[in-house]
């Protein structure tokens, strides 16, 4: 009899707590973005394809499905990879292509003398940052250019340059405080 009552009590408790948890799961559910949107919000939207996917959204979907790792985006750099790691609760991974990540951010510039008005670059630009029409002059709207370089391969006369964006006193960032002798290797003290 004692065992039976113990079993009944525990079962009852389990049922009560189970109901409570179930209720809480429904009542206090946090309506969040689907994870793909959250990942996409962290990507730099350069739409360059350097990750191997056809743009930032496909890469976000690949990360969400587990197909791709978080270290494939050079324009996002170290900071972007770390932000993705934080979001997904994973460990940071070294960037796949450190060199590409270290490249300075640039903006495309068409050498107008050489432009033949073929519209191939206009079609290639994923953010419609090139102004122009067939047989008319093509110009890159610098403020809209994300530096993805997708316009360079199609241009038949190779008249597009990538000009690095210059830092001004207004956009300059204080460097991370360096030179801590406590962290110096032996022999350098």
């Amino acid at each position: 009899m004692g065992v039976l009552s113990a079993i009944l009590t525990l079962t009852l408790l389990a049922a009560v707590f189970g109901l409570l948890l179930g209720y809480a799961a429904v009542r206090f559910r946090v309506e969040g973005d689907p994870i793909v949107d959250q990942i996409d919000a962290l990507l730099p939207q350069t739409q360059c394809g350097q990750c191997g996917y056809a743009g930032c959204r496909p890469y976000a979907e690949a990360i969400a499905s587990g197909e791709a790792d978080i270290n494939l985006c050079p324009p996002g750099g170290e900071a972007g990879m770390t932000a993705l790691a934080d979001l997904l609760g994973r460990d940071p991974v070294p960037l796949e292509d450190e060199e590409a990540a270290a490249k300075p951010k640039s903006v495309a510039f068409i050498r107008e003398k050489e432009c033949i008005g073929c519209t191939l670059c206009i079609q290639a630009c994923p953010v419609d940052a090139i102004l122009g029409a067939a047989k008319q002059m093509h110009s890159v709207i610098a403020d809209e250019c994300t530096g993805c370089e997708l316009c360079l391969p199609p241009c038949p006369v190779e008249c597009i340059d990538m000009i690095p964006i210059r830092e001004t006193p207004e956009t300059w960032r204080w460097p991370y405080p360096a030179h801590n002798p406590w962290l110096e290797e032996r022999g350098n003290g």
Binding site: P181, W182, E184, E185, R186, N188, G189
Partner: protein
């Protein structure tokens, strides 16, 4: 003309870590001297042993971590840890236990977590707890204060006892050693003696164990010196001792025969040493002003609880370690109101 550049501010006060540590050591001297007076050379030998071990091991650890050892070792923080640990150890503790404890403090509790500034637990107290749990017999074998035993062990015999084992003192041992006042109180209470009876024993002085209470006084002096110099804040010692007094007083008022008088708690064991020197270790304690009051108060309560109902006679080490765990949470919930913010920041 060209000039070197650096970030502002370009002026610096003349405080530095070595100065802070040196002042702590200075403040420890009166209490240490009292311990030497009442308990002989053992405490000094322990301090020397622990100090040398600490410095050597810290040097070694930093080399192994690939860091420059000199800045870390010269700031005296290892010496302070070793000194505090040595003060908490019985004067005749076998040398290898002292070394082991110091090694644990420096290598495991401090360096493994990242070195100075990164340890979540107070290294001296963690090492003391480690030794107490591992070697309970040796760690509870205290000498009687000279006022009770009538003599102080000469240096050579102390040395022998520490390095060659207490067997060298065999015939003498019983006359020299005895329980600490806290231990004594515990044993007596567990035998259901009344406080008024227990008080008759010659081990008691005016407000604590004889000899012991004076050690407490000298540490108190050192602690007040540190507050005056601004090395520690008044908050933690004050709240710890006040809450200990209050809760001890409460229980004593309810039943004076089964609970010792409040001053006993203050002047026994490591309460004063703990309040001014151990709980105030800035790295592992709470840092917000209100948080420090709460931290100190809870240590005081825990000390009383563990002493009265817990398994060990002295509780300061365990109380401090438990509150070290709680310190980050306390800090999180006691952020001061920022200038210009309308209500308490609390997220």
């Amino acid at each position: 003309m060209q000039f070197p550049v650096a970030s502002s501010p370009h002026l610096q006060g003349n405080n530095n870590i070595r100065l802070v540590m040196a002042q702590v050591l200075l403040a420890l001297i009166p209490g240490t001297a009292a311990l030497w007076w009442y308990f002989g050379w053992g405490v000094l030998i322990n301090i020397a042993l622990a100090g040398l071990t600490a410095v050597a091991l810290e040097w070694l650890a930093l080399r192994m971590r690939g860091r420059n050892p000199w800045p870390a070792v010269s700031d005296l923080s290892a010496v302070v840890t070793a000194w505090l640990l040595a003060l908490a150890l019985p004067p005749l503790l076998p040398w290898w236990q002292t070394v082991l404890g110091t090694a644990f403090a420096i290598l495991v509790v401090k360096q493994l977590f990242g070195g100075l500034g990164y340890n979540p637990f107070n290294p001296a107290m963690a090492a003391y707890a480690f030794l107490l749990i591992s070697f309970p017999a040796d760690m509870t074998h205290w000498l009687l204060p000279s006022v009770l035993s009538g003599e102080t062990l000469p240096l050579e015999q102390t040395w022998q006892a520490i390095f060659q084992g207490s067997a060298t003192l065999a015939p003498h041992w019983d006359a020299l050693t005895g329980a600490t006042p806290l231990d004594h109180m515990r044993t007596e209470l567990s035998q259901n003696h009344m406080i008024s009876e227990i008080r008759q024993s010659p081990v008691w002085g005016d407000f604590g164990g004889r000899g012991w209470e004076w050690v407490g006084n000298w540490f108190l002096l050192g602690g007040l010196f540190l507050i005056w110099r601004g090395v520690i804040s008044w908050r933690i010692p004050f709240s710890m001792l006040a809450s200990l007094l209050l809760i001890a007083g409460l229980f004593w008022a309810i039943d004076p025969e089964t609970h010792p008088f409040p001053a006993f708690h203050l002047f026994s064991g490591a309460a004063i040493l703990g309040a001014f020197f151990i709980a105030t270790d800035p790295v592992s304690a709470s840092t917000t002003p209100r948080g420090q009051l709460i931290y100190g108060a809870l240590i005081g309560v825990l000390v009383f609880v563990i002493r009265t109902w817990g398994g060990y006679p002295d509780a300061v080490a365990f109380a401090v370690l438990l509150m070290n765990m709680a310190a980050p949470t306390i800090d999180y919930y006691t952020q001061p109101r920022v200038f210009g913010a309308r209500k308490e920041v609390n997220d």
